[in-house]
């Protein structure tokens, strides 16, 4: 469904270009969930944005559902791939009601039964009519993220990209959103590509996990393998060590 072949993504051009992602090859079969984990500067968010068509890529090929895609996309291609961003406040227009935010994609793609679609989208993410005409600042972080998910799904995409969807949320809210994403993915057979710095969150939703550091994909493994520390690359081991260091609740620091 998603295929990246030897992709290079760079910021700027010419001699001052900064290469953010180098020779990345990754495939996500239809209906599967793949996660990219890494620290800041690893390039994982850059990969996601290139797949989303928000960034151009310098070399290689990105294919979605068999079609090669670039920065410029057709309306049909846009409909197929949607994204949920990290910051629930930044991804919703501050001066628009939830209703307006959900009406925009309906209007762009001239979908029929707009009213019904909006109501259904809200219900699917666990929001009700009382939320429909509120502004983002009148919603909690978790509710805003639900609106973002509703907006992404109202176009019935086949691919859902997730950029740290729960990093900015409280623990209790994170659990709700993760459960919601898991359920929606199951119900709609979505293909997921998710990015996070949190190993536990990625392992919860994704079957396969790619580890990135400094623009390179160093290892592709599974959640189970990670749990059993059956990993090959040194960096992955280091990541697991740091993660474990904070996970165990009875380790004396020092």
């Amino acid at each position: 469904m998603i295929a990246l072949d030897d992709v290079i993504i760079a910021y700027g051009s010419g001699p001052r270009a900064v290469v953010a992602v180098r020779n990345l090859t990754l495939a996500v079969p239809e209906g599967q969930a793949v996660g990219l984990v890494g620290e800041s500067g690893s390039g994982k968010s850059t990969v996601l944005r290139a797949v989303a068509g928000l960034l151009p890529y310098a070399a290689g090929e990105i294919t979605l559902a068999g079609q090669r895609v670039d920065r410029r996309r057709t309306t049909a291609q846009r409909k197929m791939t949607q994204m949920v961003f990290q910051d629930p406040y930044g991804s919703l227009h501050p001066n628009q009601t939830v209703d307006q935010i959900l009406s925009l994609p309906v209007a762009i793609h001239r979908l029929d039964r707009g009213e019904a679609r909006i109501v259904q989208a809200l219900a699917e993410v666990g929001l009700g009519p009382e939320h429909r005409y509120r502004f983002p600042h009148q919603l909690s972080g978790g509710q805003r993220q639900r609106v973002a998910i509703a907006r992404a799904l109202i176009l019935e995409p086949r691919i859902l990209l997730l950029d740290e969807p729960t990093s900015a949320l409280d623990v209790s809210v994170q659990a709700e959103i993760l459960n919601l994403l898991a359920r929606l993915r199951r119900d709609r057979g979505l293909t997921l590509l998710m990015v996070s710095h949190d190993l536990a969150v990625i392992a919860h939703l994704c079957e396969r996990i790619g580890v990135m550091t400094r623009g390179l994909l160093v290892e592709t493994t599974t959640a189970t393998a990670m749990a059993n520390n059956q990993v090959t690359h040194d960096y992955t081991r280091e990541l697991l060590r740091s993660n474990a260091g904070l996970d165990r609740s009875n380790v004396a620091a020092g």
Binding site: A52, G53, L54, R73, T75, R78, K79, T81, Q82, M83, F85, Q86, D87, G90, S91, L92, H93, P94, N95, Q96, T97, D99, Q100, L104, P105, I108, H109, P129, E130, H131, Y133, R134, F135, Q138, A148, R151, L155
Partner: protein, 309 residues
């Protein structure tokens, strides 16, 4: 998650409750609710309310001018009655041609308001039309549009107006065009700055992701973000616009006699300033008060905007 020490809210069923409802049921209710909350915040600012009051007074005076003063008196010359001080027949006295100053000030408000409205109607769309694409597209488009803006910024307002008047002849319309020509650049820059700030925002990226065209993004996403600061800037600039119009009138380039334009009135009162001070000072005070009113209003709007964000 915070707990309230005491709970009380608006009485349900009233208009206030409808406006403050936490769960609006329609687009219109949501909009009204937002405006109402903004109004509540604005109302707390005494100076801003004073400014609003002055501006409203100006508008009312302009609308109801014929009911407040006698239109004939604005041009009715009684040369035997010239330069009279304030009296019961002439509340502000008479000018050098025996005309009633009070009536002239009241009807002059119409001219002031017309100038202000006409300049606004030209300046805001032009500023947005130039600033928004410059900020959104960047690159060559930005450079070209901003250099054009710089060219217009380089002109001092009054000098350009003089040039215009010399070329096209004096009159209100030409004065308005002249003022608008030099007033729009700051708005273009403001629109451009706001666009640059929000250009990288994630909700813009989300709109792109959904397949929105550049025009749709600019019109539906960015314009609503620019408008508040543009409007605030406009109210703050009003004072300057009024003064410039008065200045043009003072130089004889704005409204032509016998129109009761405040600046022209100040000008014609110059010769008798020492002995019959009211002829120049009263219209001067009117200019001052109205400028102050717009300034206070603009400050208040800006503070209200800041408080919410």
């Amino acid at each position: 998650m915070m707990a309230n020490a005491s709970a009380s809210g608006p009485v349900p069923g009233t208009a206030r409750a409808w406006l403050l409802s936490p769960a609006p049921a329609s687009r219109m209710q949501a909009r009204c609710s937002r405006w109402f909350r903004a109004w509540l915040g604005f109302r707390r600012n005494k100076l801003a309310m004073t400014g609003l009051g002055i501006v409203l007074l100006l508008v009312l005076m302009a609308i109801f001018a014929p009911l407040i003063a006698d239109r004939q008196s604005t041009t009715f010359q009684v040369l035997g009655n010239r330069l009279q001080p304030a009296s019961w027949q002439h509340l502000f006295g008479t000018d050098e041609l025996g005309r009633d100053i009070f009536a002239r000030v009241v009807f002059g408000s119409r001219i002031t308001l017309t100038i202000v409205a006409m300049v606004s109607v030209i300046v805001v769309p032009v500023g947005l039309a130039i600033g928004l694409p410059a900020g959104y597209f960047g690159g060559v488009v930005d450079t070209v549009l901003m250099r054009i803006t710089d060219i217009f910024l380089a002109f001092p307002r009054l000098v350009l107006a003089l040039a215009f008047a010399a070329a096209l002849g004096p009159g209100i319309e030409n004065a308005v065009i002249a003022i608008a020509l030099t007033a729009w650049p700051p708005f273009a820059r403001l629109a451009r700055a706001e666009t640059l700030t929000s250009r990288r925002a994630e909700f813009i990226q989300a709109a792109e992701l959904q397949g929105a065209s550049a025009l749709r993004i600019i019109a539906t996403q960015i314009v609503p973000l620019c408008l508040p600061s543009v409007i605030i800037r406009l109210t703050l600039d009003m004072a300057g616009i009024i003064l410039t119009a008065a200045g043009l009138g003072f130089l004889g380039l704005g409204a032509q006699p016998p129109a009761p334009e405040w600046g022209a009135m100040v000008s014609s009162g110059r010769q008798v300033l020492l002995d019959q001070w009211w002829v120049a000072t009263i219209p001067g005070l009117a200019i001052f008060i109205v400028s102050l009113g717009f300034n206070l209003l603009g400050d208040g709007l800006r503070d209200a905007g800041d408080a919410r964000s």
